[in-house]
């Protein structure tokens, strides 16, 4: 019902705009531009942003965290392991080729070869083509996140990528490094065609004349994307009218954009959680649950959000944000210094101890300042933290080596699902499965692992949510790690750009639907 209302509203809007809607150019500035035009090359925000412009997914998230049909018109469960999709008819690729189930299968197969994406498709057995516009996605086991995964499938023009390029190399070759046809040429079904691309300088898009979604209210017929690295410059470009749309906006500049008569600030609660991990293998004391709890009590999440993040973050007591299946409303961070000290005393560490601490200084918003704040808060319960911060390029190798007793890590779940956090951050380390790959705390609770595995096979959403909430609760009680906050998202836009209608928490704005008012 809700969905129909929305579609209806969209249709009305589109109809009303149809007369007045004029071709418009969107000039936008991000902090980076896509590494490649090959949507399978790298799993990153910039790639997904590009994919949503040039390609279309089978399904996509709407603002209620529900699935919205795109190239897949409808879908139905055939059995525990199989989902049957009906492909939209008459959808054209930029090359003029028509989209068929063969393209979906081709894309799926290619995607499962991608080092970055193969993890997402791991639970799948393959694609069955029923006819030109019907196909099935089959999983190895019962898999609850099938549709989540389908948001990553952006069908590519299999005919376009067929054959050899000028260098005699196969056009569909997928390479992380080195020159490939697919990294510089693209044919998707998306609303925009790349017309010019100077890597690191600008990318220009034109609206695809034969775009299938005639219902879309979007009236942007040209996009010029410029990466602007420096926050202040990016903001200045917006304020001076050189660009109409920017992301991200540094917290310090929020007020300036709000106050300006020509610009709007659009914010959404984010999904990236910032945490510290307490290494139990390096520090004996961290094996003691009471000490870990004391650390959590000693840190003032609220204060960090207010003072350092200027209110532009949501204090976190767990991994997944609100809206995710595992979210539990009452798992809130508590700041209680007295309790923290009492716990330290109880654990026999009344006099405290010294630890080393590491954090990046150019990866997350205000990462260095946050780490400094945490260090000084810990000093109050006698934990002397020797903090070292460094650029992300140097930080990650250190993180992989688990070089410090307390390390910062932020995480966004590629699957937009609670289980993903635990798999990577809190599960017992296991090289074979890759679980616990980023668990520098070495927290290990077999029960938690078992629960997450169970959730992975539970297709009943309510049952599954229950399990994941249990996981979050256990992690909270055992103080497995130190959650700090979820980074919010902020876009700056010129007033004539209706940015609020197209942005989302995943941070790939659906610019095909963007309306620019005159």
């Amino acid at each position: 019902m809700k969905k129909t209302m929305k579609t209806l509203a969209g249709a009305i809007l589109a109809a009303s705009m149809a007369v007045g809607a004029q071709a418009a150019t969107l000039k936008m500035a991000y902090d980076s531009d896509p590494v490649s035009l090959d949507p399978h090359e790298q799993l990153s925000g910039a790639t997904l942003q590009m994919s949503h412009l040039v390609f279309d997914p089978l399904v996509r998230w709407d603002n209620e965290h529900q699935f919205e049909p795109r190239l897949a018109e409808k879908w139905e469960r055939v059995d525990d392991k199989t989902m049957r999709f009906t492909l939209r008819k008459g959808v054209k690729f930029h090359s003029g080729n028509e989209l068929t189930s063969a393209d979906v299968k081709w894309t799926f197969d290619r995607l499962s070869e991608s080092p970055d994406f193969k993890g997402i498709l791991e639970p799948f057995a393959g694609v069955n083509i029923i006819d030109d516009h019907t196909f099935e996605l089959v999983t190895k086991e019962a898999f609850p996140l099938l549709l989540n995964s389908a948001t990553y499938i952006f069908p590519m023009d299999s005919k376009f990528y067929d054959g050899l390029d000028a260098n005699g190399q196969e056009k569909d070759i997928l390479k992380k490094h080195g020159d490939t046809f697919a990294s510089k040429n693209a044919s998707g079904t998306g609303p925009f065609i790349v017309t010019e691309r100077q890597q690191g300088v600008r990318v220009e898009f034109d609206r695809f004349a034969d775009y299938w979604d005639k219902q879309s209210p979007g009236n942007v017929d040209e996009i010029v994307l410029t990466p602007i690295k420096e926050g202040p410059t990016r903001v200045a470009a917006l304020l001076s009218g050189d660009v109409d749309f920017i992301f991200p906006v540094p917290p310090n500049d929020h007020d300036r954009i709000k106050k300006s008569g020509d610009t709007d600030l659009v914010t959404l609660g984010g999904t990236r959680v910032i945490t510290f991990q307490l290494n139990q293998e390096r520090v004996e004391a961290f094996k003691d649950q009471r000490v870990r709890q004391a650390v959590n009590y000693a840190i003032n999440n609220e204060g960090i959000v207010k003072k350092i993040m200027k209110g532009f973050a949501t204090p976190a007591g767990q991994q997944g944000p609100k809206g995710y299946a595992g979210y539990v409303e009452d798992l809130q961070p508590v700041y209680d210094l007295k309790k923290a000290k009492a716990l330290m005393k109880e654990a026999g560490y009344e006099d405290g101890f010294s630890i080393t601490m590491m954090a990046p200084n150019n990866r997350y918003v205000n990462d260095e300042k946050i780490a400094q704040a945490v260090a000084s808060m810990l000093a109050k319960i006698g934990i002397k933290a020797d903090l070292k911060t460094m650029p992300k390029a140097q930080y990650w190798p250190e993180f992989d080596k688990r070089s410090a007793d307390m390390m910062m890590i932020g995480w966004h779940a590629d699957t937009e699902d609670s289980a993903n956090f635990t798999e990577y951050l809190a599960a017992c380390a296991d090289e074979m499965s890759g679980w616990g790959q980023y668990n520098s705390g070495n927290y290990c609770n077999e029960t938690v692992d078992a629960l997450v595995k169970k959730a992975g096979a539970e297709t009943n959403p309510e049952m599954r949510a229950q399990i994941l909430q249990d996981v979050e609760r256990t992690l909270y009680e055992e103080a497995a790690f130190v959650p700090l906050h979820w980074q919010n998202l902020a876009w700056g836009a010129s007033k004539k750009v209706a940015a609020a209608d197209v942005v989302n928490v995943m941070n790939f704005p659906y610019l095909g639907d963007l309306v620019i008012k005159e």
């Binding site: 790298q42 993890g119 992380k176 020159d179 990294s183 100077q198 300088v201 420096e230 150019n362 992300k392």
Partner: protein
């Protein structure tokens, strides 16, 4: 002359060779290129496979000799990010940087010479005090602030100049993307050039002032006065030419240094040049690009120094004649 150039060429090659060794040996400390190449959830095994493919797991000597072998054929490696030969990437960005440095140099010359000469001729005037005051301010304010401030003033408040980028460019002979021939390109050049120039301007004003003051006390200037020459000719021919000798030497080196300063300026103004490219390469741990950039910049330094020496010889007859006496 030929000998001089040959010697410089040798010198340049040695400089580049040394840079290559140094930058190659520190590349492990720059970070893990893989981290920037793959997504967060890619497993360690996958990463290792990629490392092997790229050759990052080879011992240093193997990697370096492979690099050197390719370098001798003019190939300094392939950028991970751009997926193109590092040299091509750098040369594609070079025009932007050189035009920026050129414009900044032009500003420095056009401002520092009159200002420095004025300060030397009228040491006690208010104008001099003002100029010297400003130059102290210029030395103490970091270029980042100058740049941001000028963006806010001229782009946002006044709306006169664009805030970022290079604007419209035209291709010269298909080799050189130039922003000097369009109004838009020139407008985009103004702010970055000014803030880049602002780093060196105070130094040059002070240098010219002190050199000129010294020259004004020389006998030949006194003699020129005694000859009955007009002031303008004394100041701007007799004195200025001699003033410029040390300025050329110091200034030439400084202008070489300016190539390094472009890193900051280009980042603030999103100027698509080599400096910005380098900073990004460091952030992305694009080691082949980093190594190639350092080698190219080393080469640029040698070229600039050579040009400065040639220019010095052009102005100073003593040097020129010694070299062409043959």
């Amino acid at each position: 002359m030929l000998l001089f150039l040959m010697r410089r060429l040798m010198q340049g090659l040695i400089v580049m060779f040394v840079i290559s060794i140094i930058s190659f040996s520190i590349q492990d400390n720059l970070g893990d290129p893989l981290r920037e190449l793959v997504g967060q959830s890619v497993s360690e095994a996958e990463r290792q496979k990629l490392r092997d493919e790229i050759g990052l797991n080879d011992p240093f000597l193997v990697q370096y000799s492979r690099f050197l072998g390719n370098a001798l054929q003019g190939d300094l490696g392939q950028s991970y990010f751009f997926k193109e030969p590092a040299l091509d990437v750098i040369f594609a960005k070079m025009p932007a940087t050189l035009e920026l440095v050129f414009a900044a140099t032009l500003i420095i010359i056009l401002v520092s010479i009159p200002a420095g000469v004025y300060c030397a001729i009228r040491p006690d005037s208010w104008g001099t005090k003002l100029i010297l005051g400003f130059s102290i301010l210029g030395i103490s304010v970091p270029v980042f602030l100058t740049a941001i401030f000028s963006i806010y003033l001229f782009s946002i408040e006044l709306g006169w100049l664009p805030s970022y980028g290079r604007g419209e460019t035209t291709s010269v002979f298909g080799l050189w993307e130039s922003g000097l021939f369009t109004r838009d390109g020139l407008l985009h050049l103004i702010l970055p050039a000014i803030s880049l120039a602002s780093i060196m301007l105070p130094l040059f004003i002070r240098l010219i002032r002190s050199e000129m003051t010294e020259v004004l006390h020389t006998e030949y200037v006194k003699f020129a006065k005694a000859k009955g020459l007009k002031k303008v000719r004394i100041y701007f021919l007799h004195a200025l030419k001699n003033t410029m000798l040390p300025v050329i030497t110091v200034g030439g080196v400084q202008i070489g240094t300016m190539v390094a300063y472009t890193i900051l300026t280009e980042t603030v103004f999103q100027w698509p040049g080599m400096g910005f490219l380098f900073l990004e390469a460091v952030n992305r741990v694009d080691t082949p690009l980093i190594v190639a950039y350092l080698i190219v910049v080393g080469g640029v330094f040698v070229v600039v120094n050579t040009l400065v020496d040639l220019l010095y010889g052009l102005v100073n007859p003593t040097v020129r004649l010694a070299r062409t006496a043959q």
